[in-house]
């Protein structure tokens, strides 16, 4: 599929697709329950075979976590941001590590850093952090006794 065809197919499937401010890649918000279905379609029908990275953003003021999956298509060279909005408490979403093998490690990192549970993840151990660390460091309200306050910049 050519670039134009892929973009057209995307617009047909995601009518509210739009680019976020600044970023040129198209961005869609999907329902967490249908994430796997969407990614499977994107991968197999539209050729988005490459998961560049996956991460999350903590939004405590809106009390939610925003999951970000950045996809890339090797054939059409189109990038796409797929987002899932989760409640901040007891966030849970299906794993996509069987669809994209690289997601296994990215999800392990997101799980330990943000406290997101990935249903059916094949290896839900911590990835980078020590096993005995309590809490999820990339949450905005994370504190730790050893955390020092950095000097304020003027």
């Amino acid at each position: 599929m050519s670039r134009a065809e892929v973009l057209e197919a995307l617009r047909a499937r995601f009518p509210d697709m739009a680019a976020r401010p600044v970023d040129t890649a198209s961005s869609v918000v999907v329902d967490g329950m249908r994430l796997r279905e969407h990614l499977l379609h994107l991968r197999d029908t539209l050729g988005f075979d490459f998961l560049t990275f996956m991460t999350a953003i903590d939004r405590p003021t809106e009390s939610r976590l925003e999951l970000v999956y950045r996809l890339f298509s090797y054939t059409s060279r189109v990038s796409l941001m797929v987002r899932v909005l989760l409640p901040r408490e007891a966030a849970r979403v299906d794993t996509v590590s069987d669809l994209y093998r690289t997601a296994e490690w990215h999800e392990r990192e997101a799980a330990e850093m943000f406290g997101i549970a990935f249903t059916d993840h094949p290896d839900p151990r911590k990835l980078l952090l020590p096993d005995d660390l309590e809490g999820h460091p990339l949450l905005k309200d994370f504190t730790h006794p050893n955390m020092l306050r950095l000097p304020e910049v003027r």
Partner: protein
């Protein structure tokens, strides 16, 4: 860290690392073996995790640049490049042509230096000592040039949002010409000396192959992906800076094995020389920076900027809430994805191939752990 699968009576468990010369950094793999055949392999990472992404949320936009050097110390310039580009896009800054040219020259020199260090270390892994000395001799020249321009040799902290602190120093181009004059021949020499060497070929041909589909699924990028016959290069496929104006080939391998990964890197050094030639010939007059406020406060928004580093796609996903510090920075690092494919590549191979395969992935551990 975690439970390793218990070996059955015929199997035994071998622990490699975290302090082991063949891991090229502080990481550990648990290998379950049946005789000398690898049955399963469990990588353990995080030994040098410094919580950089958390730290970034407490630093100003400018203060982050030197930290990016220290994620991948062998390609500090590629990391500077991606980060600075992301912030410039957030701010809506267009830098002068001359800045682009200096950046591309620095980035390609950095690529050659990184590949040379890989060649040196990989030669040692494979039992060849001489290429190590040769590669370091040439790498020294690049170190000297980069030091003259930036003040640093490894962690250069060279790029700034909007350009550079200084213009290129006088005498930079004659020095670069001298290097370019003889380095092309050196690449041919390394090619015959190491890559085409019968012993090297015997140890690497057909070892650690991964198919294009699997490499893509693991998110592999850079020479490790291109060795699997996938011509994917950020410089061409998500173009940035002046790369669309430059002509260069994207070398690919056929089998995706250890030898192909080596050959691709040699070929990439030749292509970098081509890019350098064009950048020198087209080098414009102009300013080496554009004026940027001392206190950067990008408008709310987000951007993902990526460059083709020596190891693959180096990307920074930055989110701004309009403040003096980023709201969130995610570093997309090539070694992270490349290394995650190791268990699949290595399963069913001999233990002696572990060193050959890990070396060919050209891992830099601090960028895996961040």
């Amino acid at each position: 860290m975690g439970e390793a699968p218990q070996p059955t009576s015929d199997e035994f468990l071998l622990n490699v690392g975290p302090q082991h010369p063949a891991t090229h950094g502080v990481l550990r793999v648990e290998v379950t073996m049946d005789g000398e055949v690898v049955k399963n392999i469990v990588p353990h990472i995080g030994y040098v995790h410094r919580g950089l992404e958390k730290l970034f949320e407490n630093r100003t936009w400018e203060q982050i640049i030197p930290y990016t050097d220290r994620t991948d110390y062998l390609s500090a310039i590629a990391n500077n490049f991606a980060y600075v580009m992301a912030v410039e896009r957030l701010l809506g800054i267009e830098v002068p042509q001359k800045v682009h040219y200096i950046r591309v020259i620095a980035a390609e020199l950095n690529r050659i230096a990184s590949h040379l260090l890989w060649l040196a270390a990989y030669g040692l892994d494979m039992g060849a000592f001489t290429p190590f000395l040769y590669a370091f001799r040439d790498r020294e020249e690049i170190g000297g040039m980069i030091e003259e321009a930036s003040g640093g040799r490894l962690t250069t902290n060279y790029f700034r949002v909007g350009g550079f602190v200084h213009d290129l120093p006088p005498g930079f181009f004659p020095r670069l010409e001298t290097f370019m004059g003889h380095f092309g021949g050196k690449i041919d020499e390394y090619d015959t000396l190491l890559i085409e060497n019968a012993i090297f070929v015997a140890r690497t041909r057909g070892v650690g192959a991964i198919s294009r589909e699997r490499a893509i699924s693991y998110g592999m990028t850079g020479p490790c992906l291109r060795a699997s016959d996938a011509a994917l290069d950020v410089r061409r496929d998500a173009p940035y800076s002046i790369y669309p104006k430059l002509s260069f080939d994207i070398p690919v391998g056929k089998n995706g094995d250890t030898w192909d990964r080596s050959k691709v890197r040699i070929e990439e050094m030749r292509q970098s020389l081509r890019i350098l030639r064009q950048a020198i010939d087209g080098f414009p007059e102009g300013d080496f920076r554009v004026k940027v406020s001392r206190n950067i406060e990008p408008p709310p928004g987000e951007v993902y900027a990526a460059v083709e580093g020596p190891r693959g796609e180096v990307g920074f996903y930055v989110v701004s809430d309009g403040g003096r510090k980023p709201y969130r920075v995610k570093m997309r690092k090539p070694s992270f994805s490349n290394f995650s494919a190791l268990p699949e590549i290595l399963r069913g191979m001999k233990i002696a191939d572990l060193v050959a395969v890990m070396g060919s992935l050209d891992l830099v551990v601090p960028e895996i752990d961040r």
